[in-house]
C-alpha cells in the first residue's frame, strides 16, 4: 500500500486519477479519518448557520448592542481590563492544540506514555477553558444581570445569542475533553499496541484514532477563533 501511494500521479492529474479509480477515492486515508473530515464539514455548516443567525440578529436589532470591551472586561485590582479573561481562554485553547499535535506525533512514534501524557495535557487545557467559560457565564449572569431573555446593557438578543453559541461551542469542548480522557487512558494502557478491543464497539483500534481525535480538537479551536472574532472584536 505505502509503495503504491508514492507512485500515484500528482496535481490535477492525480485528482482525476483518484476519483476515477476503484476501491478508495482518498488513497491511503483510513475510514475513520475520512469520516471525521466529512463530519467536520457538516459541523462547519452548523456553526456557520449559528454565526449567520448572529449577524442577522445583530444587524436587525433596533436597540444598540452592548460594548464588548465593557461587558467582557475583567476587574483586576480595581481596574477594568478589557478582554483579559478571553485572551487567557483563547491562549489556553490554542496551546492545547499544540499539545494535541505533539500527542499525535508521539503516538505515531509509538511512545505511548508520552502520547498519553500529552493527551492528558490537552484535556487539562480543554477543561481549564470550559472552567473559565463557566466563570465568565457566572459573571455575566450574576454580576451584570444578562439573561437569555433580557439584557440591561442593550439588545436583548445579546444574551440569547451569546449563551447559545458559546454554550454550543463549550459543549463541543466538553465532549472533546471526555473523549481525550478516555483516549488518554486507552493509550496509557497500550490498547493501540496490543490490539485490545473497544468496550462498546468490540473493534481493534490504532494510533490513527489519536489523529482523528486531534482533527476534532483542532476544529473546535478553529471555530473558537471565529467566535472570538465575532463576539469580542466586533
Amino acid at each position: 500500500m505505502k509503495d503504491n501511494l508514492s507512485k500515484l500521479p500528482s496535481g490535477f492529474k492525480g485528482f482525476v486519477h483518484d476519483w476515477a479509480s476503484d476501491q478508495t477515492t482518498f488513497k491511503g486515508v483510513p475510514w475513520g479519518k475520512a469520516m471525521m473530515w466529512i463530519f467536520l464539514i457538516s459541523d462547519t455548516f452548523i456553526f456557520s448557520c449559528f454565526l449567520i443567525g448572529y449577524m442577522t440578529v445583530r444587524g436587525s436589532t433596533s436597540v444598540p448592542w452592548p460594548n464588548p470591551s465593557e461587558v467582557f472586561a475583567l476587574n483586576v485590582f480595581g481596574v477594568d481590563v478589557p478582554l483579559l479573561l478571553i485572551a487567557i481562554m483563547t491562549f489556553v485553547l490554542i496551546t492545547s492544540s499544540g499539545t494535541m499535535a505533539l500527542a499525535v506525533k508521539f503516538g505515531y512514534e509509538r511512545k505511548k506514555k508520552l502520547c498519553a501524557l500529552f493527551i492528558l495535557f490537552t484535556a487539562i487545557g480543554g477543561g481549564a477553558f470550559v472552567g473559565m467559560q463557566a466563570f465568565e457565564w457566572t459573571k455575566l449572569i450574576l454580576h451584570e444581570g444578562i439573561r437569555p431573555w433580557g439584557n440591561p446593557k442593550g439588545a436583548a438578543q445579546f444574551g440569547a445569542i451569546f449563551f447559545m453559541i458559546t454554550g454550543f461551542h463549550g459543549t463541543h469542548v466538553s465532549i472533546g475533553v471526555i473523549f481525550l480522557l478516555i483516549f488518554a487512558r486507552k493509550t496509557w494502557r497500550g490498547d493501540f499496541d496490543n490490539g485490545k478491543r473497544g468496550f462498546f464497539t468490540s473493534m481493534k483500534s490504532n494510533y490513527v484514532a489519536i489523529e482523528i481525535l486531534g482533527l476534532y480538537w483542532h476544529f473546535v479551536d478553529l471555530v473558537w477563533v471565529f467566535i472570538f472574532a465575532f463576539f469580542y472584536l466586533w
Binding site: 476503484d22 478508495t24 482518498f26 488513497k27 442577522t56
Partner: protein
C-alpha cells in the same frame, strides 16, 4: 472491456495497476486490495441479531419497518382530514385545532420520518454495502446507534400526541412567531417535542450519513470505480451529501426555536401584542427562521427525489433489458441537481416579504434546475425506447413514476415563477404540486423498489395479483386525488383551511370535488393495506425466487446466499469488471452480464468500455 481483452488479454483496470508500465501481464485477482478485510461483529444472541444489530441489512429493514409504521399514522391522519374536508356536515370529530395538528403531523412525518428515513436509512443501508461490494457499512456500531436515535426521535414525535395541548399545529414548516404563540394548537408541549424530535433525527441521521458516504467513497470492492456504480448508489450518495449540508440549518433553527419557546429568547420573535397585552418577546426576525428552514427544506426535496431518480433508473434498465441511456449524463445530472438545490431555497418565500430582487434571482436558479431534470426524464424514456420491456410490477411503478414526475415538474414551472406563484401560493395548486412531485412520485419508486428487492430480502416474490391491484389503484387513485386539486387551486381554494364555509368566491362545484377527492383518498388508502398484507403474507406464502430472479447485473444479486448473510459475500469479495448495465450485449449468449463476470468468460460479447 471485452475488446480490450481480445486485443491485449487485459482483464480489468485497478487503480494500482494503472501506474505500472506493463499492466497487461497483471491480473486484477493478483493485486492486493487497498481496503483491508473488515473485522465484523457477528451476532451471538437474539438481541444482537435482531434488535441491537450491527448488520447494515438488518438495520435497513429496521429503518424501513419503523418508517412505514409511522407513515401509516400519517396516512390515517390524511384520511381523517379528508373526511372533514369532503363531508364537513357529516363528520364532527375534528375541531379546527385538531385539523391543524393533523396537517402538521401528516406533513412532517411524510417528509422527514417516512421518505427521508426510508430512502436513506432503509434502501441506503440495505443496498449500499451490497451494491458497492462491501462486507458491511464501514462503522457498523455507529450505524446501529443511528437507527436507535431515529427510533427515539419517532417515539418523541409520537409522544407529542399525548401531552396536554396535543401535537403542534403550526404547519410542517413550523413558522414562527405563530408556532410558539398561544392560540396555535400545541404551542406549549407539542412544539417543543417536535423540535427535540427533529434534532434527534438530525443527530441520528448524521451518524448514518457518515457511514453511507465513507462506505461509498472508501469501501468499494476491487474494480468498482465511481463511474461503474449503479445509479441507485449515486442517488443515495448525492442525497446523503445534501443531507449532511442541509440538516445543519434545520438543527440550528430547531435549537433557536426551542430556546425561544422554553427560555423566552427572541431569535425569531418580533414584539407582539396579544389580547391587548404586550408579549415579552421583541426584536427577533421571523424571516431568519424561514431562510434557515428552507435552506434545509429545499435540499430536503432532493434528498427525497435523488434516491428515487437513482432507483428508478436501475428498475427501468433491468426490466427493459437495456443499458441506461447516457449513464454519465445521468450521474452528472444527479450531481448538478444536488449542487443547484442549495441555491433555490427562497422560492418558497416569494410571499414572505423579502426583497423582490431575491425572488428574481431565485426564480432564475429554480428554472435552471429544470435542465438536468429534463435530461434525466429524456434518458429514462430513451432507455425504454426499443427495449425488451417486461411489464411487471416494478416496471409499472417506474413508468407511473416518470409520468407523475413530469406532471409534478411541469406545475413546478408555474410555481417557480414569481408572478405566477403569487396568486397561486397557499392554494390547493401548491398542495397538488408538491404531493405529485415529492409525495406520489418518490412513493411510487419506493413501491417499485420494494417489489424489485423483496426477493433479495426474503427469497420470495410478492404476490403478483395483489401487486397489480395495488399498482392500478394507487396510480389511478392518486391522479383522482391530485388532478382535481389543481383546479381547486386555480379557483382560489386556500390550503390548510378546516372548512370552506360559505365563501362566495368558491363555487359549489368545489365542494363536490372535495367529496370526490375524499372518496378517492380512502380507496387509495385501502390499496396500501392490501400492499401491507401482501408484504406480510408473502414472507411465508410467496412464490420462491431463485437466485437473481430479475437477471440483474448489479452486485447485490450476485451474493453466495439468497438472502445474503452477514458479511454479504462469500469468502472473497467480488471483483468488478464492468458497469451495472450490461444488458442485451451484442454477441453475448445471455442477455445480461453481471458486474463480476470477467471478460475472459464472455470473450464473444462486444461490450463498450465502461
Amino acid at each position: 472491456m471485452s475488446e480490450d481483452y481480445n486485443k491485449f488479454k487485459l482483464e480489468a483496470k485497478s487503480s494500482e495497476m494503472l501506474n505500472d508500465e506493463n499492466t497487461s501481464s497483471i491480473k486484477i485477482q493478483d493485486t492486493e486490495s487497498e481496503v483491508p478485510e473488515q473485522d465484523l461483529y457477528h451476532p451471538k444472541s437474539f438481541i444482537t441479531k435482531w434488535i441491537f444489530c450491527q448488520d447494515a441489512k438488518v438495520i435497513g429493514i429496521q429503518y424501513s419497518i419503523t418508517a412505514i409504521a409511522i407513515g401509516l399514522v400519517a396516512l390515517v391522519l390524511s384520511w381523517l382530514m379528508r373526511l372533514q374536508l369532503g363531508f364537513p356536515e357529516t363528520f364532527s370529530y375534528l375541531t379546527p385545532a385538531g385539523y391543524y395538528q393533523f396537517v402538521t403531523m401528516h406533513g412532517m412525518i411524510m417528509v422527514v420520518y417516512l421518505l427521508t428515513a426510508l430512502f436513506l436509512g432503509g434502501f441506503g443501508n440495505f443496498l449500499i454495502p451490497l451494491m458497492v461490494g462491501a462486507r458491511d457499512m464501514v462503522f457498523p456500531y455507529v450505524n446501529m446507534i443511528s437507527y436507535w436515535m431515529y427510533f427515539i426521535a419517532v417515539i418523541v414525535l409520537v409522544s407529542s400526541f399525548f401531552v396536554p395541548g396535543g401535537p403542534t399545529g403550526a404547519g410542517w414548516t413550523l413558522y414562527p412567531p405563530q408556532a410558539i404563540t398561544s392560540g396555535t394548537p400545541g404551542s406549549n408541549g407539542g412544539i417543543a417535542l417536535m423540535l427535540i424530535s427533529l434534532s434527534l433525527f438530525v443527530i441520528g441521521f448524521t451518524m448514518g450519513g457518515l457511514n453511507y458516504i465513507v462506505t461509498i467513497l472508501q469501501g468499494r470492492t476491487r474494480g468498482m470505480t465511481l463511474m461503474r456504480m449503479p445509479l441507485t448508489i449515486w442517488g443515495i450518495f448525492t442525497a446523503t451529501v445534501l443531507a449532511m449540508l442541509a440538516f445543519p440549518a434545520l438543527i440550528v433553527a430547531c435549537i433557536m426555536m426551542t430556546l425561544d419557546s422554553l427560555l423566552g429568547t427572541s431569535f425569531f420573535m418580533p414584539s407582539m401584542v396579544q389580547m391587548g397585552e404586550h408579549l415579552k418577546y421583541g426584536g427577533g426576525s421571523p424571516i431568519l427562521f424561514q431562510h434557515l428552514f428552507w435552506f434545509f427544506g429545499h435540499p430536503e426535496v432532493y434528498i427525497v427525489a435523488l434516491p428515487a431518480f437513482g432507483i428508478v433508473s436501475d428498475l427501468i434498465s433491468v426490466h427493459a433489458r437495456k443499458n441506461i441511456f447516457g449513464y454519465r449524463m445521468m450521474v452528472w445530472a444527479i450531481v448538478i441537481i444536488g449542487a443547484l438545490s442549495f441555491f433555490v431555497w427562497a422560492h418558497h418565500m416569494y410571499v414572505s416579504g423579502m426583497n423582490p430582487w431575491f425572488g428574481f434571482f431565485f426564480a432564475t436558479t429554480t428554472l435552471i434546475i429544470a435542465v438536468p431534470t429534463a435530461i434525466k426524464v429524456y434518458n429514462w424514456v430513451l432507455t425504454l425506447w426499443r427495449g425488451n420491456i417486461r411489464l411487471n410490477i416494478p416496471m409499472l411503478f417506474s413508468l407511473a413514476f416518470i409520468i407523475t414526475f413530469v406532471n409534478g415538474g411541469i406545475t413546478g414551472l408555474f410555481l417557480g415563477n414569481v408572478i405566477v406563484d403569487v396568486p397561486l401560493s397557499d392554494t390547493y395548486f401548491v398542495v397538488a404540486h408538491f404531493h405529485m412531485v415529492m409525495g406520489i412520485a418518490p412513493i411510487l419508486v419506493i413501491f417499485g423498489g420494494i417489489y424489485h428487492w423483496y426477493p433479495l430480502i426474503t427469497g420470495r416474490f410478492l404476490h403478483e395479483g395483489m401487486g397489480k391491484f395495488h399498482f392500478w389503484v394507487s396510480f389511478l387513485g392518486s391522479y383522482a386525488i391530485y388532478f382535481p386539486m389543481h383546479y381547486l387551486g386555480f379557483i382560489g381554494v386556500p390550503r390548510r383551511y378546516y372548512e370552506m364555509y360559505n365563501s362566495p368566491y368558491i363555487p359549489t362545484s368545489a365542494q363536490g370535488l372535495n367529496a370526490f377527492i375524499t372518496v378517492a383518498a380512502l380507496i387509495v388508502g385501502f390499496a396500501q393495506l392490501v400492499f401491507l398484507y401482501n408484504i406480510i403474507s408473502s414472507i411465508r406464502l410467496g412464490k420462491i425466487a431463485e437466485k437473481n430472479p430479475w437477471q440483474a447485473c448489479s452486485l447485490e444479486w450476485q451474493t453466495e446466499y439468497v438472502p445474503p448473510r452477514h458479511g454479504n459475500f462469500g469468502k472473497k469479495l467480488p471483483i468488478v469488471y464492468r458497469w451495472a448495465y450490461d444488458f442485451s450485449v451484442p454477441g453475448a449468449k445471455q442477455d445480461y452480464i453481471p458486474q463480476n463476470v470477467p471478460p475472459s468468460e464472455v470473450p464473444e460479447a462486444r461490450t463498450e468500455k465502461t
